[in-house]
């Protein structure tokens, strides 16, 4: 390269950096060109929960495709839209030509975050600060407070408190996720008890941090990449080949991180590990006979559409295997609970509208308990049930299982 040419290129790079212009990568080019497949049939509109909840200012998945097909470079115009999407993935599943709307939304968020940070919803910036400060997306309770809360919670559901077994070389790593570490504390304990009951040799990684999903959802893909790279490197250093996760979001995000980074580590949600390694017969044998209860399953988007529908069938088989659990199907089981995409943290109103729709479907199923294989969905649904006075029990799957499997 001549020095003239090099100078020219350096100048261009400098201007781009000053103007905060990020050139499209080949991957981005490819994803954006997928938008052109959209035939404007509008079928996706019927399946989009945000469109149903708002109509007014959310033009739905077709609108996203529409908006961008005018001029992809003016992506920031779509900022008010892309932060509303819950990334539930229903549009893509139902789209006859498979337009990858959720992927497009993620790309746009990351571009907006870099080039137009002023357009990132304020409610989300706080979460990002939490991750930088504490390593978790939520501010943790102080240790005494946490212990007290945890004891109370465990006592109520009749489960014991154990220490965290440290991760030793070669063991299965249990990744609890921020929600179970800082909010729905019993999920982490239940996860431990279930793994122990089925003789899984596991440990909890020391100083683990957020899986990166919420960070990526906010748009900070650099930070998300960094969190994931360092977690997976640490696991490799510890000779870990298997990671098990109780949160649907963490599971799907860490799974795709292994793919992105070419890591050979196998990440699985608890239902996958149980179904594939333990088997429903063993689960059934081990489970205590408890009172008869009518149960339905909420299907987290991150399991059913991000990881794959098979995880839902695993979860269903596991529930069906438990004695005295009367499993009932639910119309709309695959619909988002409203917490997806971090919508809840910057637009609680729309999020709650979606949740109320979900609650109607839960009520209609006739179940006494709705089980969700995800602490984030569980918290969201049970908050909604309390607020709307819907008399249905809400349990995270790990907790529901632990209570039927744990014995002194």
């Amino acid at each position: 390269m001549s020095s003239m040419r090099r100078k020219e290129l350096e100048h261009i790079d400098k201007v781009l950096a000053e103007e905060k212009i990020v050139v499209f990568s080949p991957y981005e080019d490819e994803i954006y060109s997928e938008i052109e497949k959209c035939q404007n049939c509008s079928l996706c509109l019927t399946f989009c929960p945000v469109f149903e909840a708002t109509g007014e200012f959310y033009p739905g998945p077709r609108g996203i495709a529409d908006e961008l097909s005018r001029d992809v470079r003016e992506f920031w115009r779509a900022s008010s839209i892309v932060y509303m999407c819950t990334l539930c993935g229903r549009c893509q599943e139902r789209c006859p030509v498979n337009v990858p709307i959720p992927e497009v939304v993620m790309l746009l968020r990351s571009k907006i975050f870099v080039q137009r940070p002023d357009l990132v919803p304020e409610g989300l910036k706080v979460l990002l600060e939490n991750v930088s400060r504490y390593g978790y997306i939520f501010e943790p309770m102080n240790p005494e407070e946490r212990e007290e809360s945890l004891r109370g919670r465990l006592e109520r559901i009749g489960l014991p408190l154990r220490g965290d077994p440290p991760l030793r070389s070669g063991l299965v790593a249990y990744f609890p996720g921020c929600q179970a570490e800082t909010r729905l504390l019993e999920v982490k304990e239940a996860g431990k008890l279930v793994l122990e009951a089925f003789d899984v040799d596991y440990g909890i990684p020391e100083k683990w941090k957020c899986c990166g999903l919420p960070v990526r959802l906010i748009g900070d893909s650099a930070m998300a990449d960094e969190l994931q790279r360092s977690f997976l490197e640490e696991m490799e250093r510890m000779n870990v080949t298997d990671v098990v996760v109780t949160c649907a979001g963490c599971a799907s995000e860490l799974k795709s991180a292994t793919k992105r980074l070419g890591s050979g580590i196998r990440v699985r949600h608890l239902v996958e590990l149980l179904f594939e390694e333990v088997g429903v017969e063993t689960i059934s044998r081990k489970a205590r006979v408890s009172d008869k209860v009518k149960v339905t399953l909420h299907e987290p988007c991150h399991l059913s559409r991000h990881i794959g529908r098979y995880t839902i069938d695993y979860a269903e088989e596991i529930l069906r295997a438990l004695p005295n659990v009367d499993y009932v199907g639910m119309r709309g089981a695959d619909e988002c609970c409203g917490a997806g995409g971090l919508l809840k943290f910057h637009n609680p109103f729309v999020s709650a509208t979606i949740r109320n729709k979900k609650l109607e479907k839960i009520s209609r199923s006739g179940a006494e308990v709705v089980v969700a294989p995800c602490p984030l969905c569980s918290v969201n649904i049970s908050e909604g049930a309390a607020r709307k006075r819907v008399s249905v029990g809400v349990d995270d799957l790990a907790v529901f299982l632990a209570r039927r499997i744990y014995s002194e």
Binding site: L45, P96, N98, H306, I307, I312, R331
Partner: protein, 441 residues
């Protein structure tokens, strides 16, 4: 992981009907679907035979007879070698409409005659069975009517003024005299006045307050316009009949819903009803699984390979029904210069029943995209015998494989207006025969 007696691949009209029919025999039936296909994009009315050999007819039975005489590879002709095809179409459609009716979606119409319905793009649609929300607008019932076409400010894809003049023109072509046509464009406080979609409008209609406001508005419009009939682009998603009744009572006119291209609200109502009724009758439906291959042994299918995320696993059944649709459903895909059937890699045949040769395809594709006789690729698909078993060189391909719906070759529904009719009757027969196959061991 899935083990069932009958596995149906594809949950469009053909697949849902086949699956439900098979459960009548108390068999365990599972439907898998990757997402959605043509049935969701249809207008939610059932065509049986609108344009046999390219000419429109108001008499479907005569049309079917013509087709049987001239197109031996048409599914209706193939069926007629074993059954009275008119009777079995009647049975199949009665079955379909009673499934819908059990979930509150009512159909009208009779196989003896086609009707002309007006649509939201200012044109008309020839069909046979239609939802009863459209009944008052059947063209031959509009003789002497004074029709008010009701638009909504900001509603995308619907121009009431254009429709009203266009309807008058089309009516006269069918020798129907509309005494008067007029139009209005309403704006209601709760409606956004730009970029409004018909789906939102339909959802609004189901809200009591909106419905009340709208009824009032209509009443004022009607007072000035001397109207006997009111056409609306939609009557609502969940409560169309209730809405229709209320508008009729409030305005003293006959109210109906226009047919619409995608996104069609009546099609959503129909598909939701069929799916719910299928589940109610014991069919298991899994959405989110894509069939990507199979294991066979001689003339028997052992399992179908399903893909879900990164996983591949077999689904085992005693009989399989292929109801994956055509290009929209995804049963046939086009890859550069080749079209192929996606699950069993069955050879494809053209509308005349000839094997679709590779060199033919480039010739077919090179033709104009809208030839008068219809796009030739729309007639291609798998070839079946009268039991709906796919055949290759006149030999049954697999003893336990059946096909239904638009994956079948030998007819072009776009040109012919026979889409759901063929989907229903082939689904009905495939469901019955798959059940017999399983019961016979």
């Amino acid at each position: 992981m899935i083990e069932t007696e009958i596995l149906v691949i594809g949950g469009g009209v053909a697949g849902l009907l086949a699956a439900t029919k098979a459960t009548d025999e108390k068999l365990e039936v599972t439907v898998i679907d990757k997402g959605s296909g043509a049935s969701y994009q249809s207008s939610g009315v059932i065509d049986v035979m609108g344009c046999p050999l390219g000419e429109a007819t108001l008499k479907p039975i005569e049309g079917i007879a013509q087709v049987i005489e001239c197109s031996p590879s048409h599914p209706y002709s193939v069926i007629s070698s074993e059954r009275n095809v008119t009777n079995v179409i009647k049975d199949a459609i009665r079955y379909l409409t009673s499934m819908a009716s059990n979930r509150g979606v009512e159909f009208k119409g009779e196989i003896e005659r086609n009707v002309v319905l007006l649509n939201t793009i200012g044109s008309f649609k020839l069909t046979c069975f239609y939802q009863s929300t459209m009944d008052r607008g059947v063209l031959h019932k509009l003789e002497g009517a004074s029709l008010l076409v009701t638009g909504f400010k900001g509603l995308v894809g619907f121009n009431a003024r254009f429709c009203s003049s266009s309807f008058k023109h089309f009516a006269s072509k069918f020798n129907i005299e509309l005494r008067k046509t007029s139009s209005t464009e309403l704006s209601l406080p709760s409606l956004r006045e730009f970029n409004l979609t018909i789906i939102e409008l339909a959802r609004m209609m189901d809200e009591d307050d909106f419905r009340k406001d709208l009824a009032k508005k209509l009443e004022t419009e009607i007072a000035v316009n001397d109207v006997s009939h009111v056409a609306l682009p939609t009557l609502g998603l969940k409560k169309p009949y209730e809405n229709m009744r209320i508008f009729e009572e409030e305005t003293g006119t006959s109210v109906f819903e226009l047919v619409s291209p995608p996104p069609s609200v009546p099609a959503q109502r129909l598909m939701e009803a069929l799916e719910e009724e299928a589940i109610e009758r014991g069919v298991r439906i899994f959405r989110g699984y894509k069939a990507v291959g199979f294991e066979g042994e001689g003339r028997s299918i052992k399992s179908v390979t399903l893909a879900s995320g990164e996983k591949r696993f077999p689904a085992k059944a005693k009989a399989y029904i292929l109801a994956t649709g055509k290009f929209i459903g995804g049963g046939i895909v086009e890859e550069r210069d080749k079209v192929k059937e996606t699950v069993f890699n069955l050879p494809l045949y053209d509308e005349k029943g000839e094997p679709l040769k590779r060199q033919n395809i480039s010739r077919l594709l090179a033709k104009s995209p809208f030839p008068r006789e219809g796009h030739p690729l729309m007639g291609c698909g798998v070839k079946v015998n009268a039991q709906m078993k796919p055949v290759v060189n006149d030999e049954v391909a697999y003893d336990n494989l059946f096909a239904a719906g638009s994956i079948i070759s030998g007819y072009n529904y776009v040109r012919e207006k026979s889409g759901m009719g063929v989907a229903a009757v082939t689904g009905y027969i495939a469901g019955m025969n798959a059940a017999t196959h399983v019961e016979g061991g």
